[in-house]
């Protein structure tokens, strides 16, 4: 029964996915190329392999949250506690390390903390299914940030860069390619394959389209939601590890606003917040579009206030673009 349902959904999904590829993917690739051409025109420093790879370090740390965030949005839900989860996991990393533990243990504690935070979100949302994810994760966001502030007060905890392998997570390179870039691409491929080539992925689409119908057709909706929220927590901790490696010390107020950046990257990538739509390569492309756009504008020293305006406009335009099309499509039959 379950397999049959799965097949039907996948067939329908494959069909619309191809259409989406025609529009959205092409659209993003065009933007990506346009951003790069523009950057190369306005700054003589832009087109250097070394510079571009270094630039990826500036945004790839938070891009690790985009991976699971794409899943959350695909389910038609949202998780705004990720920034606070990053802060709390990073604080736990620092506290464990400075308590005399080896860095390996600290990293595991950090990942566990993140996973627990995510699992708490998942637990609340699956036990009380009528609650809105936005509100619950708003609550846990304040909760996690508060715990981090109690743990560290206003102090920083650091000294991570005494451990060479830990420092090289963010700063290290293989040839010209940063280690973080390689890890990110590997993670992205795994996340992409899970989303598009497995039963788990197809079930997420089904839940996003209509979670009640998915439930009636035998999909373990709550189990999948719980898993997705937990993975989100885990990957927030991965971001925390790279952030800690990049800065060498952490404090409780780091990573503020990361949730919105992750969500905007995923949305720009075509993963719509109403669920069941979008594809993974789009989200990854969006990460690089926003990242390179910021880097290019930064290279020519565009004031940061203006940069916010530009990125805000870009997001609005992108979200508007498909609606424009839908509007025309709807208007046409009426007119006839």
């Amino acid at each position: 029964m379950a397999t049959k349902t799965g097949r039907v959904i996948s067939a329908e999904q494959k069909f619309s996915w191809k259409r989406a590829l025609l529009r959205w993917e092409v659209f993003l690739v065009v933007i990506f190329i346009a951003v790069n051409i523009m950057n190369a025109c306005i700054s003589p420093y832009y087109l250097s392999v070394n510079g571009l790879f270094t630039a990826t370090s500036s945004f790839l740390d938070k891009a690790f949250i985009v991976l699971p965030m794409a899943y959350v949005l695909l389910l038609g839900e949202i998780d705004i506690s990720v920034g606070a989860t990053v802060a709390l996991s990073a604080c736990m990393l620092g506290i464990t390390f400075n308590a005399g533990m080896p860095m390996g243990v600290a990293v595991i504690v950090c990942l566990l903390t993140g996973s627990l935070c995510g699992a708490l979100n998942g637990l609340i949302l699956t036990k009380f299914t009528e609650l809105a994810p936005m509100i619950v994760t708003l609550g846990t966001q304040i909760l996690f940030r508060g715990i981090a502030e109690i743990l560290l007060t206003d102090q920083a905890t650091g000294g991570f860069n005494q451990v060479p392998w830990f420092k090289s997570l963010y700063w290290g390179k293989v040839g010209v390619v940063p280690i973080m870039f390689i890890i990110f691409i590997l993670c992205a491929i795994v996340f992409g394959i899970i989303m598009h080539c497995t039963t788990f992925g197809r079930r997420m689409y089904a839940i996003g389209k209509n979670s009640e119908a998915a439930g009636y057709s035998g999909i373990p909706v709550q189990k999948i939601r719980f898993l997705v929220y937990t993975i989100t927590g885990t990957f927030s901790a991965v971001t925390a590890i790279f952030l800690a490696s990049g800065m060498g010390s952490v404090r409780s107020n780091i990573a503020s606003g990361y949730e919105l950046e992750a969500i905007s990257m995923a949305v720009l990538g075509g993963i719509l917040t109403d669920g069941g739509k979008g594809n993974f390569p789009g989200a990854i492309l969006a990460v690089f579009i926003l990242g390179f756009l910021r880097y290019g504008l930064g290279l020519v020293n565009v004031p940061s206030q203006l940069m916010m305006v530009i990125i805000g406009l870009l997001l609005i335009l992108v979200v508007m673009a498909p609606n424009l099309k839908v509007g025309r499509w709807k208007a046409a039959p009426k007119g006839m």
Binding site: I42, S43, T54, A156, Y170, M247, V300, N301, S304, A321
Partner: protein, 348 residues
């Protein structure tokens, strides 16, 4: 279908034109300066939209313009170390000659700034220091002890040398606040200040409303209070307003922005603050500019004992800083009195 593709392309073109327009138009303006030498000096402040930072940038620009040196101004949209790291990386990619930074975190910028120094970029900091390993030199707005002594002397003067007084600080963890308060307590050990009693250090967390509440609490808890010292710009403004509105006999001094405090500074009973202090952010920017230039042309390396001339500001000697690095101290804090406040309130 064709229409959809067309509209998508149209949107892209629109977006790109808009971006390109903004990008090129503004870059010329913000890069600024004259293109005389190959050297480019960069200043990176804590955050955008802060008048104090703007004044620091102004001072920096003034000197760079006068010397005909190209410069870059960077203001992160939020006061975080993460945003500053990103900007340091951008500056490294542009190949600037020097970076002067007001750190949002003393330690978190170390890897990024070390990376910059490895590439031969001269790194100095001003206003808010980064740790000793992340910099070559710190432009200190005022030595901690000078501020402690100055504020203590002001309290002595205002209270007439005896009675109760209180401190209204920012957060209980603020590094600079605590250093000043410690310094004031040390100064108070002297025989001269024996008649003074420090009754409480209150914390307003640099929030206006909380500072107001704390001031009101001080007034009701200590009816004999004679003076309040608020070494924070938010705290002093809140306290000044409360004291003036309540027509309280308690007088106020501390560190504040002239533009915000102009209404409260005066010698008579109608004003709550006879005088207060602050350093001049424009001068910090100027001195930072001279330091950057001297580091770039190699006349100083940031070692203790070196001297250099900073234009009209005069001769400066590099000294050991308390954190193990080196610093130059701008000078004693500047007093804002009823006589000069009118001139300064429009400046910053």
């Amino acid at each position: 279908m064709k229409k959809k593709i067309l509209s998508a392309i149209l949107c892209t073109v629109m977006a790109v034109t808009a971006l390109a327009g903004c990008g090129t138009g503004k870059s010329a303006a913000s890069a600024g300066g004259k293109t005389a030498g190959e050297e480019t000096c960069a200043i990176l402040v804590k955050s955008a939209g802060n008048p104090y930072n703007k004044k620091m940038i102004e001072g920096f620009q003034e000197i760079m313009d006068a010397q005909g040196i190209k410069y870059v101004v960077k203001e992160p949209e939020e006061a975080s170390a993460e945003a500053q790291i990103k900007m340091v990386n951008e500056l490294v990619a542009q190949g600037v000659s020097s970076i002067a930074i007001a750190g949002n975190d003393p330690d978190a910028l170390q890897p990024a700034l070390e990376e910059a120094m490895n590439k031969g970029i001269k790194v100095a900091c001003m206003d808010s220091s980064v740790n000793a390993d992340s910099r070559m030199l710190f432009v200190n707005q005022a030595g901690i002890d000078i501020i402690g002594e100055t504020l203590m002397e002001a309290i002595y003067d205002i209270t007439g040398g005896e009675g109760q007084w209180a401190i209204l600080s920012a957060t209980s963890q603020a590094t600079n606040q605590n250093a000043w308060i410690e310094s004031m307590k040390t100064v108070m050990q002297q025989e001269k200040y024996a008649g003074l009693e420090l009754v409480e250090v209150a914390y307003g967390d640099d929030e206006y409303q909380k500072s107001v509440d704390q001031t009101l609490a001080l007034l009701s808890n200590y009816p004999d209070l004679k003076a309040i010292c608020a070494p924070t710009t938010v705290g002093i403004m809140a306290a000044a307003k409360v004291l003036q509105d309540e027509s309280s006999p308690v007088k106020l001094t501390g560190l504040g922005l002239p533009s915000e405090m102009a209404d409260y500074i005066g010698d008579d009973d109608a004003h709550s603050c006879p005088y207060m202090y602050l350093w001049n952010p424009i001068d910090i920017g100027r001195l930072t500019a001279y330091v950057s230039l001297a580091l770039v042309d190699g006349s100083i390396t940031g070692a203790a004992g070196e001297t250099f001339t900073a234009g009209d500001l005069g001769e400066y000697t590099i000294t050991e800083a308390s954190d193990g690095g080196t610093e130059v101290v701008l000078g004693p804090p500047f007093a804002f009195t009823p006589d000069n406040i009118a001139d300064w309130k429009d400046v910053y």
